[in-house]
């Protein structure tokens, strides 16, 4: 390896770049997952939700949360719950002088909703439920375009009442327009005050959903958390975001799989470099290996020498790769990568993605590189071991 330092360094850099790429991709995927979870849960969803059994699939107005007072009073005492808010939800029709469309009408408590969702931060026109008017309605920018309405314009919302199915209509004034860059939110939802929604649906003081944010994002994806069992009684169900958005969880599993594929491809390219380097080094010293074999070095001894060289190359590469991987990932983790506005599996990135460095990345990947590099070294090692000493000496002469 020291005989041709430039070649060894170039090979080491090539492998090191592969290792650095693995570390960076891993850190980026973690950052992306965190970003997606945060975007998905903080936009509107929350990290957990409580509903009446069956509500999620049918959205029937009469399926309100059972024993709401018990649920709310216990939630207030939960140490792991940071915020929660109550919501009333229903399919409905929204009509303007220009158009009509089906939407999800969501009744919210503006004060507590601010702690859960980012509707207030996404306002592009008007205000987020300021004042006390019961007839304020906040809609998405795409819905406003469709209905051809602006601030202060009138809209009629029609919903079917619980139990009887009688239609209930109310007139609203557009008080605010938001934009999340998410079609589902910008085109398909309209927010009104919860008391008005309860009145329209004739459900008294009941609600359909309680959205929850925990003190740690880990709780939302821990399906074994006792919290879920505690609130999944009296005919209600309590679920985390992994259940609410299974496609997001599947996307994360896909991400993890993709890192293996990326690693495999990267290493495949690097492996060819290693084989090439070792073979070049082998051919350069063919006569020496021939001499070593001639004087009594066993075939295994020659092979072992090549594997040791591959191992030494791996150590140099790991040294370079770890430094490069750390520096590049650290810099990007400070700057961030701008994917804002891009939608992926139903989640729109709303913030910069910051790669996340973990100690594990600097242990697992270097070990993988070391073992795979040594493994790749077996091929030239086997070649050298099988080489006839006479042929080896004749070739170089």
């Amino acid at each position: 390896m020291l005989r041709n330092k430039r070649r060894s360094v170039i090979a080491g850099i090539a492998i090191g770049i592969g290792l650095a790429s693995l570390i960076f991709v891993d850190a980026l995927i973690i950052g992306m997952e965190n970003n997606m979870v945060e975007s998905a849960t903080s936009t509107f969803l929350g990290e957990g939700e409580i509903h009446r059994d069956g509500f999620r699939s049918t959205e029937q107005a009469e399926l309100t949360i059972n024993r709401l007072d018990w649920v709310v009073s216990h939630l207030k005492q939960e140490k792991i719950v940071r915020h929660f808010t109550e919501r009333v939800m229903s399919f409905g029709m929204i009509t303007s002088p220009a158009n009509v469309t089906a939407i999800n009408v969501v009744g919210i408590d503006p004060a507590t909703e601010k702690n859960l969702s980012e509707i207030d931060e996404a306002m592009i026109k008007g205000k987020y439920f300021e004042g006390g008017s019961e007839r304020d309605i906040v809609i998405g920018s795409e819905l406003a375009d469709l209905l051809e309405v602006g601030l202060g314009d009138r809209l009629v919302v029609t919903v079917a009442q619980a139990g009887t199915g009688d239609l209930s209509q109310e007139l609203f004034h557009v008080s605010g327009i938001y934009r999340f860059n998410s079609k589902e939110l910008d085109r398909g939802m309209a927010f009104i005050r919860i008391s008005k929604a309860q009145q329209m649906l004739a459900i008294g003081n009941n609600v359909h959903e309680i959205a929850i944010n925990f003190t740690s994002t880990e709780y939302g994806q821990d399906q074994q958390l006792p919290f879920w069992k505690k609130y999944s009684q009296f005919g209600n169900e309590a679920i985390g975001w992994t259940t609410i958005l299974p496609e997001l969880k599947a996307a994360f599993e896909l991400s993890e799989f993709s890192i293996y594929i990326t690693g495999l491809i990267l290493f495949g390219v690097v492996a060819l470099g290693i084989i090439n380097t070792l073979f070049m080094s082998l051919h350069e010293r063919m006569f020496e290996f021939g001499v070593l074999r001639a004087v009594g070095t066993r075939p295994f001894g020659i092979g072992r020498l090549i594997v040791y060289e591959a191992g030494a190359l791996a150590v140099i590469s790991i040294f370079l790769g770890v430094i490069l991987g750390y520096v590049v990932t650290y810099i990007v983790s400070l700057i961030g990568i701008d994917y804002t506005g891009i939608e992926f599996v139903g989640v729109t990135f709303r913030r910069l993605i910051y790669p996340v460095l973990e100690v594990r990345q600097f242990i697992e990947y270097p070990l993988v590189v070391f073992f795979l590099t040594s493994l790749v070294g077996l091929y030239p090692a086997f070649y050298a071991a099988k080489m006839s000493p006479a042929v080896a000496m004749r070739k170089s002469l």
């Binding site: 006569f287 070095t297 066993r298 075939p299 001894g301 000493p389």
Partner: protein, 234 residues
């Protein structure tokens, strides 16, 4: 009956080596029968392409005969596995090459002790033998030098020391003087003759150098892969 001093160390019977050169079979060595007894100082001579080096490779087990048999110290080479052959060469044959072939990153001592290292000789014993043989070849005190710091003649002396230090029965030298001037070649050959006389080791050279031929006791002349002449000269 054979005496110890006349023990047959190399015996070949009908040894042939055929190469394929662009699909054309080329016989480098053709049915050579030869016996070399212990303590001989023999030179295989002949023009380039006569088969000297190929024959040397065959009798050392570095190459395999296409036909015929080779015995070294009563062991039939064709019956040995790769590892057995390596061990056999390590313990029975010392090699001297035209280009010295010392390992450039190792010191003189490390180069000389390499074979003893393979044999598992203890460090103390290795060092003792290296010092002794360096004294014998006139390079006393050179053990810590790198080969690149030595002249061609000195490097070849180190190569001789490396070949002899493990006390093999046979020393095979392929054109050992090809890269040396005539004075250095003469000195090297005289030194090897002295060692041959002292130790009783068998020396077999492949050469077309007159200096080597002048000092050899037996000349085996090869031509077109066959023995043309076999004569005792000294």
């Amino acid at each position: 009956m054979q005496t110890t001093s006349e023990k047959k160390v190399i015996v070949t019977e009908g040894v042939t080596r055929t190469y394929s050169d662009n699909g054309v079979a080329v016989e480098a060595v053709r049915g050579i029968d030869l016996t070399i007894t212990s303590g001989e100082f023999t030179a295989l001579v002949g023009p380039s392409g006569s088969g000297k080096t190929t024959f040397l490779n065959l009798i050392s087990g570095l190459d395999k005969a296409t036909e015929g048999k080779v015995w070294l110290n009563n062991r039939l080479l064709s019956e040995m596995s790769g590892t057995e052959l390596s061990d056999f060469r390590r313990d029975n044959i010392g090699f001297i090459f035209q280009a010295y072939n010392l390992i450039p990153v190792l010191t003189v001592e490390e180069n000389i002790e390499y074979i003893m290292l393979l044999q598992g000789v203890a460090k103390h014993e290795r060092h003792k033998r290296v010092v002794e043989i360096l004294k014998e070849i006139g390079l006393d005190g050179y053990q810590d030098r790198l080969p690149t710091k030595l002249s061609g003649g000195q490097q070849q002396r180190v190569a001789v020391a490396r070949a002899m230090v493990s006390r093999p029965a046979i020393i095979l030298a392929d054109e050992p003087t090809a890269n040396l001037d005539s004075k250095t070649s003469g000195e090297l050959l005289d030194m090897m003759r002295d060692l041959n006389a002292k130790t009783g080791m068998t020396f077999v050279f492949s050469t077309h150098d007159k200096i080597v031929m002048d000092r050899a006791r037996r000349l085996v002349t090869l031509k077109d892969g066959k023995i043309e002449a076999d004569e005792i000269v000294n």
